[in-house]
């Protein structure tokens, strides 16, 4: 099958574009350390409140400057709803759900993940600027979905 010259040029440009996109993605991972949520363990939905660390939701300093926020997502609130950390802290969110699927997005950051019953979601981020960041559930979780939010308060 003969492919026309113009067609070949166009296909070449397409491949170049896609290769460029791929390079940019690889660079964002390798160079800028962008990470996606991965497998962080399972948990039995019925036993969440009896299983560490979810038996005590809250914010903990795990090492100097490093914090862990243990959060339970449920219809229609995050528990705890407010997370306080000092500026510059590296915060790891450890989240699971006790009912349905929820979303977990921290505004103006790249923290954006799903919370799925039976699964543990783990995402980290360093907060270098003081301020209040909304945490919003962005997956439909029943009629109270649009009221489900919390916040990260970073104080300077």
């Amino acid at each position: 099958m003969q492919i026309d010259r113009l067609e070949r040029i166009f296909l070449f440009l397409t491949v170049t574009l896609l290769a460029g996109v791929l390079m940019a993605i690889v660079l964002s991972v390798v160079h800028d350390g962008a990470e996606l949520p991965t497998q962080a363990g399972r948990i039995n939905v019925a036993e969440v409140r009896d299983t560490a660390p979810f038996d005590a939701p809250g914010v903990y300093e795990t090492a100097p400057g490093k914090y862990q926020a243990v959060i339970i997502a449920k219809a229609w609130a995050f528990e705890p709803a407010e997370i306080r950390i000092p500026v510059g802290a590296e915060l790891t969110f450890v989240v699971t759900s006790i009912d349905v699927i929820h979303g977990f997005q921290v505004w103006d950051t790249n923290v954006n993940a799903m919370v799925i019953p039976g699964q543990i979601t783990e995402v980290s981020r360093t907060f270098d600027e003081a301020g209040e960041y909304n945490i919003v559930c962005h997956e439909y979780c029943g009629i109270g979905h649009h009221g489900m939010f919390g916040k990260v308060v970073v104080s300077g």
Binding site: T14, Q39, P117, N134, G142, H145, H146
Partner: protein, 553 residues
């Protein structure tokens, strides 16, 4: 290559009867579009702080949104695919469908599915949105309705294949006509893709909703949903690609470049549509990041055939514009049939799709995805794809298809032209508003003005989304008006208006390799790729049926 490009007006009894069923199936899709539009305008008005859900007797915004998603994304699109790609197979092979029973069966199954799902949704017993994520639990009726919709498409596919078999008997060694080829390939792709949803519903959700099993696995069923949920976008798109390739160029006097390239494009869709579903789960826990990356990589690959399509179509239109006397680099553009609503509507849909494709590349990019995932950016994106590339094309194609099937003349080409331009203008505003809101942190799937965290900076986007959505709604009502007036038109369509003209190719089938027609081979290759891409995903997740159902609506 010379093909006969006119349909024989003297139709056989069988064919007349088949066309009637195809017509009813098309109309079933219009019912979906109508319900979807009524819900759509409520969503648009909500953006303008006009909340009418109580007034119209709906329990919540989400009940409306479930109706909108299901009727638009599953009913309207599936019915069109069933109807149109039955008609194209008849035309392509120049013979009726092999099985009348399957044709009727497909319609009846789909109609039953629509009725069941509609009852469940209207009773507020299935407010789980069209993604039906467990462990939100709907009434069994809803899941049965959804499965029937899928089964109706399988019936169409089997009928196409039986027709191919019957045709081959009489035409041994001949190349499959291009029109039939791409119609059949579309359904073969979907046959593989739809397995995920079917297994999820039949194997897990339905027994669980009936209470036969106590729990389900939210991640596993979600993965099965997205097994179907990405390729479903090609099941929305490829039926209109069939028209873009085979009808739009002919209306502009243009010829397609090469038969082989078109076949190749559809083979790539068959191969690459399904093994990419994890790009909808980039932000999911419980799915390994490496597997996400592999699916992300293949996703870039499936962008390729759409780029080839863009090239081929523009080349065909240039060819047409030049044959109509246009000269120079862009002089051919004004010579195109801009006065023809059927052609113009499809071309506007293509233009919308270039934006939809570009934003799709953003969503699909492994790490950029986190910026937009589940924000209002996403509905902004897909109203340009399924909401325009598909929906606007279907409307434009209907302006040909309804006269073709009923013998009644299109009520008003000028009104139709106004309708398609309105949709195009409306959706540009609408999607612009949603995308901007999404980048400004607005989540999707919320009644914006009821959210406690709503921002003042969102107001200007809401105006765009609201007004754009209202313009789209008016356009949709204009569409229904034109279609009803057409179906009831006392004036008969001319044989020209009723004809089914298809694009010729400059390089015909005789120049494309015979291996392209080995459908079985490509199907097996596609299945193998899907297994490679999904077996590790499913195995690494395991199955944990420990989530009880929740009815939170």
């Amino acid at each position: 290559m010379t093909t006969d490009t006119r349909i024989d007006i003297a139709l056989s009894e069988v064919e007349l009867s088949q066309r009637r069923w195809i017509k009813w199936h098309l109309y079933l899709g219009f019912v979906g579009l109508l319900i979807g539009t009524l819900m759509g305008v409520l969503q648009a008005l909500e953006r303008l702080d006009v909340n009418l859900y109580d007034e119209v007797g709906l329990e919540s915004y989400y009940q409306g949104l479930t109706l909108h998603g299901v009727t638009m994304a599953l009913v309207f699109t599936f019915a069109f695919a069933n109807a149109f790609l039955s008609l194209t197979v008849i035309r392509g092979f120049g013979r009726p469908l092999a099985s009348h029973a399957l044709l009727v069966g497909s319609f009846v199954t789909a109609a039953a599915g629509v009725v069941m799902a509609a009852i469940a949704m209207l009773l507020n017993q299935a407010t789980v949105l069209y993604t039906l994520y467990a462990p939100l639990q709907a009434t069994p009726l809803f899941y049965i309705g959804a499965v029937l919709l899928v089964i109706s498409t399988w019936m169409t596919s089997v009928n196409q294949l039986l027709t191919l078999k019957a045709w081959r008997k009489k035409h041994p060694g001949e190349r499959i006509p291009l029109l039939s080829y791409i119609s059949i390939m579309t359904f073969l792709m979907w046959d593989i893709a739809s397995v995920g949803l079917a297994v999820s519903v039949l194997g897990f959700l339905l027994p669980w909703a009936f209470g036969w099993v106590g729990g389900t696995d939210p991640l596993f069923t979600r993965t099965l949903f997205w097994f179907t949920g990405h390729p479903i976008v090609y099941f929305w798109l490829l039926p209109v690609y069939v028209s873009w390739y085979m009808m739009a160029p002919a209306r502009a006097s243009g010829k397609l470049f090469s038969d082989g390239v078109v076949r190749g494009v559809f083979i790539l869709f068959l191969l690459l549509s399904t093994p990419v579903g994890l790009h909808h789960q980039f932000t999911d826990p419980g799915v390994h990041a490496h597997l996400k990356f592999i699916h992300g990589l293949l996703t870039l690959g499936v962008f390729f055939p759409s780029m080839v399509t863009a090239f081929t179509l523009v080349a065909a239109f240039e060819n047409g514009g030049k044959r109509r006397g246009g000269k120079g680099l862009i002089g051919w553009i004004p010579k195109l049939p801009w006065g023809d609503a059927i052609w113009t509507g499809q071309v506007l849909a293509m233009l919308g799709f270039t934006l939809g494709g570009a934003t799709g590349l953003i969503n699909a990019s492994y790490t950029v995805n986190v910026v937009v995932h589940n924000t209002a950016f996403i509905p902004g994106h897909f109203h340009l794809t399924v909401g325009t590339a598909t929906a606007l094309s279907i409307m434009a194609i209907s302006y040909w298809m309804v006269p073709h099937l009923t013998g009644r003349r299109l009520f008003s080409n000028r009104l139709a032209l106004a309708q398609v331009w309105m949709w195009f203008g409306g959706v540009l505003m609408f999607s612009r508003g949603l995308m901007a809101a999404g980048i400004d942190n607005q989540p999707r799937r919320i009644p914006v003005n009821s959210a406690p965290y709503a921002q003042d900076s969102w107001t200007s986007y809401e105006v765009l989304t609201g007004i754009g959505g209202i313009i789209m709604t008016i356009s949709a009502f204009l569409f229904f008006y034109i279609i009803i007036r057409t179906a009831m038109n006392k004036v008969a369509a001319t044989s020209d208006e009723m004809s089914f003209e298809i694009s010729e190719t400059i390089k015909g089938a005789e120049e494309s390799p015979a291996i392209l027609d080995r459908l079985g081979l490509w199907f097996v290759a596609a299945v193998a790729l899907v297994l490679l891409a999904y077996v590790p995903v499913l195995l690494s997740q395991g199955l944990n049926l420990d989530s009880p159902g929740f009815i939170l609506f």
